[in-house]
């Protein structure tokens, strides 16, 4: 569970103050996949930083349930000098949970999701899609409850992107994790989410919320006629 209650945040620079978020309120229930979409530069990444506690809100309140956060970024940020396996162990090392048991769990997870043959390889030997999958397993290794996804597919080419985002969504669902995805891609948000939150331009606040319950997978949802309808609605709300 994660709830933003009337949250505001401003950036301070020498030349002035920029309100990135103003009066933002929304809520994510446990086990849900929620997407936040908004025009570019509307402070989407700020929302994730606030959720993760990397930034403190200027005012308002962020209520968090039990469990840790896991962060997944635009680029996979795998460390080239480590093998895939060592990359996956990184959060364990940092959180001082590098026990044989935790490592075995992480390896198990990697094997379950098709990275078994790549564990001893260098990230540079992996395709873009596999790298993003390795990054997801790394995020999951320390056992977080809520995943914060900062446009994790935007650096991939279109074909890989469709493949990887379905892939990532199904892994998150089958691991029963809560996810907060920020993206500027409307169709990605519709295909993946249980709920879509639409933001205004900066300083951002919630314009509309849509609960989506058609289609059982991203693929079936894309093929559903309601996909196009929802797309139109969201597009108008974003003012594009």
């Amino acid at each position: 569970m994660l709830e933003f209650k009337n949250v505001s945040y401003s950036y301070h620079t020498k030349s002035g103050e920029t309100a990135a978020v103003a009066g933002l309120s929304f809520r994510i229930e446990r086990g849900r996949f929620v997407s936040v979409i908004g025009p570019s530069g509307c402070g989407k990444s700020t929302i994730l930083s606030l959720a993760a506690g990397l930034l403190k809100p200027s005012s308002g309140e962020i209520i968090k349930g039990d469990g840790e956060f896991g962060y997944m970024l635009q680029r996979d940020a795998l460390f080239e000098w480590r093998t895939v396996e060592q990359n996956i162990f990184l959060p364990l090392e940092i959180k001082k949970r590098n026990t044989a048991e935790m490592r075995a769990r992480a390896v198990e997870l990697a094997k379950k999701y098709g990275l078994g043959d790549f564990l001893k390889k260098s990230p540079s030997q992996l395709s873009g899609g596999m790298r993003q999958r390795a990054a997801l397993i790394r995020t999951l290794a320390a056992g977080p409850e809520i995943l914060l996804l900062d446009e994790p597919f935007s650096a991939l080419d279109y074909q890989t992107r469709l493949e990887v985002c379905d892939d990532v969504q199904s892994i998150i669902k089958s691991e029963k994790k809560t996810a907060l995805l920020v993206t500027h891609d409307i169709s990605e948000a519709i295909a993946l989410s249980d709920k879509v939150v639409v933001l205004s331009p900066r300083p951002s606040h919630v314009v509309a919320e849509h609960t989506l319950n058609f289609g059982s997978s991203p693929k079936s949802r894309r093929n559903d006629s309601r996909f196009a309808e929802t797309f139109e609605v969201l597009r108008k709300e974003l003012g594009i």
Binding site: A52, L54, F69, Y71, L73, Q74, R75, A77, F79, E80, W81, L90, P91, E93, I94, K95, A142, L148
Partner: protein, 268 residues
């Protein structure tokens, strides 16, 4: 060789072309050296150039021989090599440590920056008289000179390497809850390894500049001393010989660093 069985003719031709290019480059390098040395020897042999002024390859070899017989060769080489290596290691270790400190605090970095800039632009040889008076005339003074010549660049290069680490990776570490120390150990140090290797290469050259410059100012032995001494008594054979030995030593030291780089960077 059995692999060639599976290659197409086109690929074999391509491989041949690569190999031929490699041979040409290798041969051309040695030919240039041979031509220079050969011309130098011939022109001095027929007195087109005065060997008293320009020396000659055969005279250099004879000088090396006589230095070897008198037992001076290894004394001079040993002293200069020792000073250079000592200065090199001190500069690299201290420079790296200072760069780590500067990396870890933006405020310290901003405070120190103008000092680094001024020290970097200052011709270190200007400090010669001070070094002699403060430190003395033994090899400590020369090592000190080597260190101050090389250290500033070590600091600046390493700091640039540390600061160039991908901000996405830093954010990731921060989101995982890593402190500065962990970021340094697990991310910044390994990620800046290529910069470190580059710094070592540049520091090799600077360490030689420092030690020879130091020997010019104050010394009783060493290759720099031989060059100055040879110049003063107009014995150009000695000057050329010492210069030649310097070329070989500097080349070898660079070679060692390049070899280490090859081994280390493979993993990065």
């Amino acid at each position: 060789m059995k692999n060639t069985m599976n290659f197409s003719d086109e690929h074999i031709a391509y491989l041949k072309k690569l190999k031929r290019k490699k041979i040409i480059i290798f041969t051309a390098r040695w030919v240039i050296l041979a031509v220079i040395l050969g011309l130098w020897e011939l022109l001095t042999f027929y007195n087109v150039m005065d060997p008293f002024i320009t020396s000659s390859p055969s005279r250099v070899i004879r000088t090396i021989g006589s230095l070897y017989e008198s037992g001076e060769l290894f004394t001079h080489v040993g002293i200069t090599l020792g000073e250079t290596l000592a200065g090199f290691f001190i500069a690299v270790v201290a420079g790296y440590s200072i760069a780590v400190i500067l990396w870890s605090s933006e405020t310290v970095r901003a405070v120190i920056e103008p000092y680094i800039v001024v020290l970097n632009s200052l011709p270190k040889i200007a400090l010669g008289p001070l070094i002699i008076i403060w430190i003395g005339t033994d090899c400590t003074a020369i090592i000190f000179m080597t260190v101050i010549v090389a250290i500033i660049l070590c600091i600046m290069n390493m700091l640039a390497g540390f600061l160039a680490v991908d901000p996405t990776k830093l954010t990731l570490m921060k989101a995982m809850g890593a402190n500065r120390r962990m970021m340094l150990k697990k991310l910044v140090i390994p990620a800046s390894m290529p910069s470190f290797m580059n710094t070592l290469k540049v520091a090799v050259g600077l360490a030689w500049i420092g030690s020879i410059m130091g020997e010019y100012i104050v010394s009783r032995a060493g290759l720099g001393y031989l060059i100055v001494y040879g110049g003063q008594i107009f014995k150009l054979d000695l000057v050329m010989t010492a210069t030649f030995i310097l070329c070989v030593l500097a080349g070898c030291m660079y070679g060692v660093v390049a070899l280490i780089e090859k081994i280390v960077v493979k993993q990065f």
